[in-house]
């Protein structure tokens, strides 16, 4: 039986995975969000108000949080739809930091000390049920028409447009969809810790999520999952002091990006000339896939997803 400590860490990794999947959905159309944590936090705050402040039932907080984030994300994506790449990153960053500012300064949300108490209703099982459903969603999505449209927009939006795909709409949809997953994660997060604070929304948190996705592999949702688990579990396993641990963490990210600029998992078949990290990373993934509660079917789907 795993200890309470590990149960907690695995629960947190599961929550972050859901958020990372959402970020992958945004990235799947070639967009770059440096404010993903803000949408996650927005969901957390909204749900915290529903349960903590208003005393309404937990399931309702999901509905409210996701609905709110859907509206805000759609509006935001619509307003910033002409911003690309770097400018979009800066735009999402500005959105996140502005939201942090709001949370700091509105007393109703608890200011700097955060919104609390929020009832502790997130359980390990709940997180993994939602994560499982999310993964199932992404597996199906990958092969759906919309999933293919996403990839098409990422690869070349001019070609996509010439094929009759509404590029702007697809981008907005992908941003909104990704943010909705962030909202789900935010609800679970707030009800897991019993508190949500302004700093949960800031750029550093968003950057952490981006690192998870980029480290694991930008091209598939498995990369997002893989990166999140490796980078949340690794610091726990490493027996160093906290600063050593994160110094190594930083170095690891640099090394990974240098040798595998698209992250550890890519669509390329194994054995392709991909450098030394692939040869270490792929077996590691196999082991991890066997351990993860995702199971054999997921592993099979993964093999399918990795085919060129």
């Amino acid at each position: 039986m795993i200890s309470a400590y590990w149960l907690e860490i695995l629960t947190m990794a599961g929550i972050m995975s859901i958020a990372a999947l959402g970020l992958y959905a945004i990235k799947a159309t070639g967009q770059l969000s440096a404010g993903h944590a803000a949408f996650m936090g927005l969901g957390g705050y909204a749900s915290g108000v529903v349960t903590g402040k208003l005393g309404l039932p937990f399931f309702l907080s999901f509905v409210v949080a996701v609905a709110l984030v859907l509206v805000v994300a759609t509006a935001f994506a619509y307003m910033t739809s002409r911003l690309r790449f770097f400018y979009q990153a800066v735009g999402t960053l500005a959105f996140g930091e502005t939201l942090v500012l709001v949370m700091y300064n509105v007393p109703y949300f608890g200011g700097a000390s955060g919104l609390q108490p929020i009832p502790l209703q997130t359980t390990f099982t709940l997180v993994y049920v939602i994560l499982g459903l999310s993964i199932y969603f992404f597996i199906r999505f990958e092969h759906s028409r919309l999933g293919q449209a996403f990839r098409c927009v990422w690869e070349d939006d001019t070609v996509a447009a010439s094929m009759g795909i509404d590029v702007t709409k697809t981008r907005i949809l992908s941003f909104t969809m990704g943010s909705a997953f962030a909202a789900l994660a935010g609800v679970l997060y707030a009800h897991f810790l019993g508190i949500i604070e302004p700093k949960d929304l800031d750029f550093l948190r968003s950057l952490t999520l981006l690192i998870f996705v980029a480290f694991g592999g930008l091209e598939t949702h498995w990369g997002a999952l893989f990166g999140t688990y490796v980078l949340t579990l690794l610091p726990e396993v490493a027996r160093f002091s906290v600063y050593d641990r994160y110094t190594i963490y930083g170095a690891l990210i640099v090394v990974t990006m240098v040798f595998r600029p698209k992250g550890l998992l890519t669509r390329k078949p194994l054995g392709a000339p991909d450098g030394p990290i692939a040869r270490v990373g792929m077996p590691l993934l196999r082991v991890l896939a066997a351990v993860l509660p995702v199971g054999r079917r997921a592993a099979k789907a993964k093999a399918r997803a990795e085919r060129p």
Partner: protein
């Protein structure tokens, strides 16, 4: 009126640090088309180098600044060689993430080496306040503003009027053609990193002395503001970064003076949001700069 004047003065002084960081971001983005997330950590490293020179070697401010500049330049060039050059041609996101890794590495490394708490300067560096007609300002503030202004004017002249400055601009516009003119692009990239890092290091030393605090995580807030300054000024525009930094400094000071200090760190992003929605190319940017 006196309060207003006082806040404007305070703002200009703080703003010159934002300008120096924003200039670094814009120079690096201009030549590499990459946003260097680790650039603010060069600012932090510069601050610590200055702090070490003052604390352990009894150096004066000038020596501290020169030493910090040299050390930080080396760090800046190394960052480009290690974390940017190998991933530059990959996806847009890759250099973003690899420099973020460098940033984490340097922050945590500094926290490991110097403790995660802010480090004070020895009393010899204490700031002296002057009072001129009711306006208060410290020696350090005056030095900051003067040094900042001198560096900005110097940079502008260098880039506009010298052979190497032209080579930097040519490389930023078209690497390949610049190399056909006999420009060693690698040297120009290194030179740009040295300039950006030197500006950051000077700002780092001045800020840490002015606020008497040298901190492993000091790069975070300043870095975000520096990025905001680059975009608000117009990516690639030196005048833009200079103006936007000073405007931001004054806006923050006025916010502190007239609204509340708790809004101070958010002003940059409110300005940034408006600029992105209304004029994404920035105050001084050209229209086609949207990439």
């Amino acid at each position: 009126m006196l309060i207003f004047a006082q806040q404007v003065i305070n703002g200009l002084m703080a703003g010159s640090a934002y300008s120096l960081l924003g200039l670094g971001f814009t120079l690096i983005f201009g030549i590499l088309n990459v946003i260097n997330i680790a650039h603010p950590e060069v600012f932090m490293v510069g601050a610590f180098l200055g702090w070490m020179l003052v604390t352990y070697a009894n150096a004066n401010l000038l020596v501290a600044i020169v030493g910090a500049t040299i050390g930080a330049s080396i760090v800046g060039v190394l960052i480009e060689r290690i974390a940017i050059r190998p991933v530059r041609s990959a996806l847009v996101l890759s250099p973003f993430i690899s420099t973020a890794g460098v940033s984490i590495f340097l922050q945590q490394g500094a926290a490991r080496v110097f403790s995660p708490e802010p480090q004070p300067y020895p009393p010899s560096m204490a700031t002296v306040f002057h009072d001129v007609g009711g306006l208060q300002f410290s020696t350090m503030q005056v030095i900051s503003l003067a040094v900042g202004a001198a560096l900005m004017i110097g940079l502008k002249l260098f880039v506009d009027r010298t052979w190497l400055g032209r080579a930097i601009r040519a490389t930023a516009m078209d690497r390949e053609t610049a190399s056909l003119m006999g420009v060693n692009v690698n040297t120009v990239v290194a030179l740009t990193l040295v300039i950006a890092s030197a500006l950051a290091a000077v700002a780092g030393v001045l800020v840490s002395v002015a606020y008497n605090s040298t901190w492993a995580f000091m790069g975070i807030t300043y870095g975000l503001k520096g990025m905001a300054v680059m975009v608000v000024g117009g990516v690639g525009s030196l005048e833009g970064a200079m103006a936007a930094g000073l405007i931001l400094g004054v806006a923050e000071a006025l916010t502190v003076g007239y609204i509340s200090s708790s809004y101070r760190d958010g002003i940059a992003f409110i300005i940034l949001t408006f600029i992105l929605l209304l004029r994404p190319s920035g105050l001084f940017g050209q229209r086609e700069r949207q990439r």
